[in-house]
Amino acid sequence: MSEERHSETPELRGLYRHVNISVRTLDIIIVAGIAAMIILVVWSASGGGYSVRFDSRGGSDVPAQSVRYGEAVAEPAPPERNGYSFGGWYVDEAYSVPWDFQTNRVEGDLTLFARWIPDSQS
């Protein structure tokens, strides 16, 4: 049926010019594509959520967390580094936006950067 319909229709134009495909094949692509999307979404949505990594910038290691959308990050124990005191977690490497563990919510994968303040040399 699809073969017969295909032969009656004009050649594909525009960016599809030279495309040679039957309606049946297209149906298979549509169904398979949608099935793949559903599987990916269900599989990924049942995972642990977004990963929140802590880049301690030379300090002691801080374990990553899995946090779902809209939830807060649990504040980890402050990392340590010789000769420096810990100055909080920041969203960017330039330390312009601090992360507030009370009010900020996770909206995607996130990496937080540790800020270090050198101990005053005496």
């Binding site: 594909l12 525009g14 309606v23 297209l26 594509g33 999307m37 979404v41 990924s44 977004y50 959308y69």
Partner: protein, 366 residues
């Protein structure tokens, strides 16, 4: 067959209910096998919409905050911010072309706007905040130039749109990175944008309850209205559809094909630069990755909204629907905590399926 009914019907009188009634009448005249085929065609042609509606219901049940007021306003705002680029690239698609340099053009426009409207100028050290109208003009001029180069190469040398815009895309990316290295900036992210710039674009238009609706929503509506007039009421719009559906026929009937193609691409370029101008103020921190992959979203939105790669087919209302649906679905997936890397795969599949549906509509129509 369904298409035929709608066309003959719309010539009589327009109206959604009349259309639906005509479809039902048409369905009643069918028998057995034809009826089955009609239902199958309906399901396949609207597969994307059906899936999106089901997904929205699923997400709303699992994460009720998805349908909260703030979430809905957020979706509308994001749709508005992505609408201009889609309106631009749609013109290129109607011409049976495409434009994959759009995202980088957005990025360049955002970088230029950000560099001229910052209170701590590192790219041009010592230069203060420039007047807004001047910056808007500069940004639009740059966008128009990009569009002109794309359109000229395509119209004059008949180069394939993918080749031309791929090279423009890379050239623009290099330009963005070099631009960000100028002065004392050294490739850093541009921030501390001027209050006037942020306020003009992302300031509050009005508030619903406690949720603020940003000003760029209004601008997006105005741009959509302007594009609607250009597409439907001007010679340029009519010529664009004529060239898109059959270039030779358009040429024979006296349409200046080269001028039409160039103008449509210039218009698209202007739309990208406006998107970039909005994006800069909206995200308030601009770097080399600003605008990356925006063209993929815009093209996907257009195809979902019925702007066909066949050429010469498309509606402004379709583009708005496409951008909105795509935004709803990706915000929704975000609420489901779907991995951002998987979103790329899903976007790829969305484009593949949307194109398959697009081709199917064309093949089945007689």
């Amino acid at each position: 067959m369904a298409e035929q009914t709608t066309t003959s019907n719309s010539t009589l009188k327009k109206g959604p209910f009349r259309k639906i009634r005509a479809e039902i009448d048409h369905f009643n005249t069918l028998t057995g096998k034809d009826r089955q085929r009609y239902v199958t065609d309906m399901l396949f042609n609207n597969a994307m919409y059906i899936i999106i509606v089901l997904a929205i219901i699923f997400i709303a049940i699992r994460v009720p905050s998805f349908v909260s007021l703030s979430s809905i306003v957020n979706i509308i705002s994001l749709t508005a911010s992505r609408l201009p680029i889609a309106l631009g690239v749609a013109g290129c698609i109607v011409l049976a072309g495409t434009d994959i340099s759009a995202g980088r053009a957005v990025g360049l426009a955002a970088c230029i706007a950000g560099s001229l409207l910052t209170t701590a100028n590192k790219i041009f050290p010592g230069m203060g905040v420039q007047p807004l109208p001047l910056v808007i003009l500069i940004v639009i001029a740059v966008g128009a130039l990009i569009g002109f180069v794309n359109g000229f190469c395509m119209a004059k040398f008949k180069l394939h749109p993918y080749i031309v815009t791929l090279s423009t895309q890379l050239i623009l990316y290099g330009t963005i990175l070099l631009y960000l290295k100028m002065g004392d900036n050294n490739g850093q992210t541009l921030s501390s944008l001027s209050e006037g710039y942020r306020n003009l674009v992302a300031g509050t238009l009005f508030t619903i309850g406690t949720v603020a609706v940003p000003r760029y929503v209004l601008y997006a509506i105005i741009l959509a209205a302007v594009m609607w007039v250009i597409w439907n009421k001007t010679t340029l719009g009519k010529n664009m559809f004529a060239v898109g559906s059959n270039e030779e026929a358009a040429n024979v009937s006296g349409v200046n094909v080269m001028r039409t193609i160039i103008l449509v691409f210039v218009m698209a370029g202007i739309m990208y630069s406006i998107t970039g101008f909005f994006e800069g103020a909206r995200i308030a921190s601009i770097n080399g990755n600003t605008g990356f992959n925006y063209e993929a979203d815009a093209i996907a939105a257009c195809v979902i909204g019925g702007v066909s790669f066949v050429g010469g087919i498309g509606k402004i209302s379709g583009i708005i629907t496409g951008v909105l649906l795509l935004q709803i679905i990706f915000t929704g997936l975000n609420f489901l905590s779907v991995d951002q890397n998987i979103l790329y795969i899903i976007k790829g599949l969305v484009i593949l399926v949307a194109c398959a549906i697009d081709m199917r509509k064309y093949l089945v129509r007689k």
